[in-house]
Structure formats: structure tokens, C-alpha cells
Symmetry: C2
Subunit: 328 residues, 2 copies
């Protein structure tokens, strides 16, 4: 099943059911918003599935053409957004290039609490104050969870994954090292986050969802040029491991968005990277200097995943970086 959220002027938008081929959509009848659907998933999911099947069969009378420009993030705001750094290869390259030393503990995943109040849709312009902030991107996938009880076992944790989404974890590198070295995670380093057009249930991924990983290429391009396509199979922790660590000593409320961290592959020389910082770090290691510039105003980014059937899973994020208008 594929779901999206139509921008309708409200803060939470209007839940849509979207056809598998992403050509058609219809307003969901079983729930008005994504948050309502997640909170009542047991009751709502079979009804939404029935609407999805009717839409795919060409039997939804209210169907209209699906336009990714008309949608918000599938979950337009979240009571919890946690980002992992679950591809250890990424950290390894960064530490090597910049002589960093992150004090990791073996077997404990890196997770960071993030803001859930400022999510952008897949084609929204992305405003930021100055290119001097060293604007970067990170191609990621996130799970959306229903209620997770404190102390959930890793073996049970993945039953709480109701949907997956695609995201660009936009990062301002000029603030990142300073904030990281302080210890308290990210504030100015990680402003608004951009999400792909639709959320999909795990069954839509077929075989590609296995071992707790979304085993598909993250296809990233910059201004129409190929940038990289690392695969989700390279994750060093499964979603189950991430969830059980997060829920060790508290309940997680329905609608938690839990992201993987930037996709990254040890075979980066063949498959490239999903963020600028990593390519710049490889250049630093190879040439003693970084050559690929950070994002400038007017540049366009694109992120997409194709399923094993060649069909776009989430639709594409395709957005432009723009200068913030002065507001104060």
C-alpha cells in the first residue's frame, strides 16, 4: 500500500491512497490524516488496503492524477524523529579524512533525537540563510512506527514498522563539527528535513525488505548528474536493533519516524556516496583536499529508489535550494 498527504492548507494535510504506479490518488476514507491512521493502524489498515486495491484496479470513482508537487511529507510533522548513523562505513571515512574519533561502543547504535516540527514535501524549495553554512544532503530511508512498548525485544521490534519513507536529511556542515564536538547533537546543523512523496507498507518492498534492511539502491543525483547509489543492505544495524535500543527504557508513541542515517557503501569507488561530505572526505584522503563544492542556491537534488521490479518505490524527492527571504 502507498499513502501520501495532500497539502490542503491545514498543518496535517489530507491522507491520500496512491496507486502502485504512482499515477493516481484518491482521498482516504478510513482516516483523515497520516497520524490518525498510525494511531489506529489495526482498525484502519484493512480499510486502507481495500481502498488501495480498488484504486489499483481502476475502480476508485474519486481518483485523480497524483502530483508529487501537491503533497507534503507523508507524515507532515512527528512527535518523535530519530536519526541513526547505521552505516558505519560513513563514519569510518569521515573519521579517517578529518582525524576525528567518535567514541562508539561496540554493539550500541548511534541514534540522535531530531526535530519533528519542520518537515518539507518532496518538491518544496529549500530555503537557507547562506551558502557559507556548507549545505549538504544525506539520502536515507525511515520507518514509521506505531506504539512501541518499553523494553521491546529486537526480535519483536520490526512488527511495529508500519510504513517506510524516503528522506533527504539536509545538513549544514559548517555547524556540524562544532555541535558534534559539544556532545549535545544537532541544532543549526540539521534544519528542515525533506521527505519523498509516498509512504509504503513493508510488503510493497517484497524481497528487498529482509534482514531488517531496505536492500535497494539510493539513487542520488545533483543537477541531473549521477552522484551515487549505495545500497541499504550495507546497514550495520537492523531496524529491529535500532528500535529496541531506542525503547530500552521508555515507550515510543505512535508516529515515531526512525531513519537510517546516510546510505554508505565500502565500495564507494564504484557506487559513489549519498552525501557530499563523504565524497569530499574521499577526495581529502586521495588528494589532500576536497574538490566537490557544497550546495549553492539554485542547485537541484534528486533522490529515488527503484524496486526489484524497476518501479519507483516512493516516487522521487526533487527539490531546489534557495535563499531564505529575510523574515525578521
Amino acid at each position: 500500500m502507498k499513502l501520501a498527504t495532500l497539502k490542503d492548507g491545514s498543518r496535517d494535510g489530507r491522507l491520500l491512497v496512491v496507486s502502485r504506479d504512482l499515477r493516481y490518488a484518491v482521498p482516504a476514507q478510513a482516516a483523515g490524516t497520516m497520524q490518525q491512521a498510525i494511531e489506529n493502524w489495526m482498525a484502519v489498515e484493512p480499510l486502507l488496503q481495500a481502498e488501495y486495491h480498488a484504486l489499483n484496479a481502476g475502480e476508485a470513482a474519486a481518483a485523480f492524477g497524483f502530483d508529487p508537487k501537491a503533497v507534503a511529507a507523508p507524515l507532515p510533522r512527528a512527535y518523535q524523529f530519530v536519526d541513526a548513523s547505521a552505516f558505519l562505513n560513513h563514519g569510518k571515512i569521515m573519521e579517517q579524512a578529518y582525524n576525528l574519533s567518535v567514541k562508539k561502543t561496540a554493539g550500541i547504535p548511534i541514534l540522535v533525537q531530531r526535530q519533528g516540527d519542520d518537515f518539507l514535501g518532496p518538491c518544496d524549495d529549500y530555503p537557507f540563510p547562506t551558502a557559507a553554512d556548507n549545505c549538504d544532503f544525506e539520502g536515507e530511508v525511515a520507518a514509521i512506527l506505531d506504539d512501541v512498548p518499553m523494553g521491546v525485544a529486537t526480535a519483536d521490534a520490526e512488527t511495529h514498522i508500519k510504513l517506510f519513507v524516503l528522506l533527504n536529511d539536509v545538513s549544514m556542515r559548517a555547524h556540524l563539527f562544532r555541535e558534534l564536538s559539544m556532545g549535545f547533537g544537532f541544532i543549526n546543523a540539521k534544519p528542515a528535513t525533506v521527505f519523498g512523496p509516498v509512504a509504503v507498507t513493508p510488503d510493497e518492498l517484497g524481497d528487498a525488505w529482509r534482514d531488517g534492511r531496505v536492500q535497494l539502491d539510493m539513487r542520488v543525483s545533483r543537477n541531473g548528474e549521477w552522484f551515487g547509489q549505495p545500497n541499504g543492505r550495507e546497514m550495520d544495524f537492523s531496524f529491529g536493533q535500532l528500535i529496541s535500543h531506542l525503547a530500552y527504557n521508555r515507550n515510543l508513541g505512535a508516529g515515531t519516524v526512525l531513519a537510517t542515517g546516510t546510505f554508505s557503501s565500502p565500495h564507494y569507488r564504484e557506487v559513489g556516496s549519498a552525501c557530499l561530505a563523504e565524497r569530499r572526505a574521499v577526495e581529502m584522503i586521495d588528494h589532500g583536499e576536497s574538490r566537490t563544492p557544497f550546495m549553492q542556491f539554485g542547485e537541484v537534488l534528486r533522490f529515488e529508489m527503484l524496486g526489484n521490479d524497476g518501479q519507483s518505490v516512493f516516487g522521487a524527492i526533487e527539490h531546489r535550494m534557495v535563499a531564505t527571504e529575510v523574515v525578521a
Copy 2:
């Protein structure tokens, strides 16, 4: 004006208007939930004020006795919860006792993104898995903000503070140094957060709200014994400075909860502390060892602030620490 949220079995509860003396409450007519009130504050606030005045005048027909045990956190869940560490004295004592070195930048406040999906009410039992996690408390105040535009100036930022709340930022110290030294903020170190019974508009504080600080004592007791009463005037950053730093490069969504960090005073030998870690650090400095134990199951904590008129501002947080029931 004082507002609270009645537990009614729903996730967001039912908004209450509470009398100034905290003796009576009445269901709000102008908004069903706190989040709805904050999102529509301009329209809703005058109506709520009228209900408040009627209640205080004994003219609210539907009034009933206010019971802090029957309420949830005033905002039971939040799309953004950020905690500052705005009393630099606290960090200074911690760094001295444990030979830490937090890489602060002068003039930039420490802020940390936190989870907004698991807030507890003022008298809820607080479950945690094991006393070996070194359970601690931190007495704090938070502002609840309406929509804040990107780039807001410090001088304008405090106009976005609609309410203040009291909180106990429960901390598991066994995880804290490990997570802090990794750089990515807190996960297992900061589980559920406990909030005081009512939220109050800034005017309820009178003179005590000035220079961007809530200038009242944070009265903390443990098992009925005085623990400390540091004053909010000791904050090294104003709320305006914290807000403008947070909003530097993005919009903040209505309902952001922005907390001060644990109250702390350079005169700690007279006024005590608002957290165990700080008292233990002072003991470490004085005696070469910490003597005050962390929280055990069954212990009770109490936090309260009295206004300059001697009246309890927020009502009291008074909760008991208990062992988590095995859920998985």
C-alpha cells in the same frame, strides 16, 4: 491564565481552565486540546481568558475541584521538545568534578533536541528498568511557543512565548557520559519527562518574569526532605537568546517546548541544587567521593515554584520512582 489537560483516555486529553489558586477547574470551551489552543492562540486566548476570569470569580457553572492526580502533562506530547543547558554554573561544577571539557563556543547556548512523544503527568509513577542506570532528576522550567519564523531576532523572540510549564527532566546518569562523549545527544540517558500540573501565561508570573528569565526559586525535595532551591535569575542566556539560536535557519512549529536545563546557582552551598549529579559533583570536589545516592525504586520527588505572592504557580510535581514491569 492557568491551563491543564485532563486525562480522558485520549492521547491529547481534554483542555481545562484552572483557577489561579489551583482549587477549581472547568473544561475549556474555546479549544479541546492544548495543541489546538497553541495553534490558534490569537483567536483562542481572549476566549480562554474570559473563561478563566469567570472561574476565578466563582461564576463557572461547570467548575469542579482540580485534582493534580487526574491530569497529564499540560501539553501531553509535542512536535518539538528542546532542552537547553542555560545555567552555565551547572556545567562548570560538573566539568570540575569529573575533569570533563565541553567544547562550548562563547555566546552560543547549548541546546539539545529531545523526544516529544513520552511525557508524564505530575503525579504519575515513573517506571524505569534498573537502579543501576543511576536515576537522577533536574528541576526546570520550559516555555511553550507558537509558530516562530526562521531568523527571528532575539528582541522579538519572547513574544512567541505563550505559556510556561514546570518539569522534571529525569536523567539516567549511567548512560549520560557515554552518550555525551559520542556527540549525538541523549537517547537512553533521558527517557520520559515529567511535567507540572498547569501551564501559565507569562502575566501570571508578574514581576518574576523579567529579563527573559523566570526569576523564582525551584523548590526541590526528595522523600519530603529539602534538597535545593536555586533561582531562575541565574540563567546565563535569556529565553529570547535560546529561541533565536534555535530558529536561526528554520521555522519552529507551534507547540515547541523549550526548557532551561537544570536550575543551578553559584551560591549552591546556601541554596542547594536541583539535581543529584550536581550535589554529587560538589561532594566529589569537597571530599573526593560522592555520598548522595542516585534514586531508588519507591523514592518520591517534589518540585514546586511559589510566586512572589506566595501562591504555587504551577502546582507541584510529586511522583514516585517504580520498577518497570516486564513488557517484552
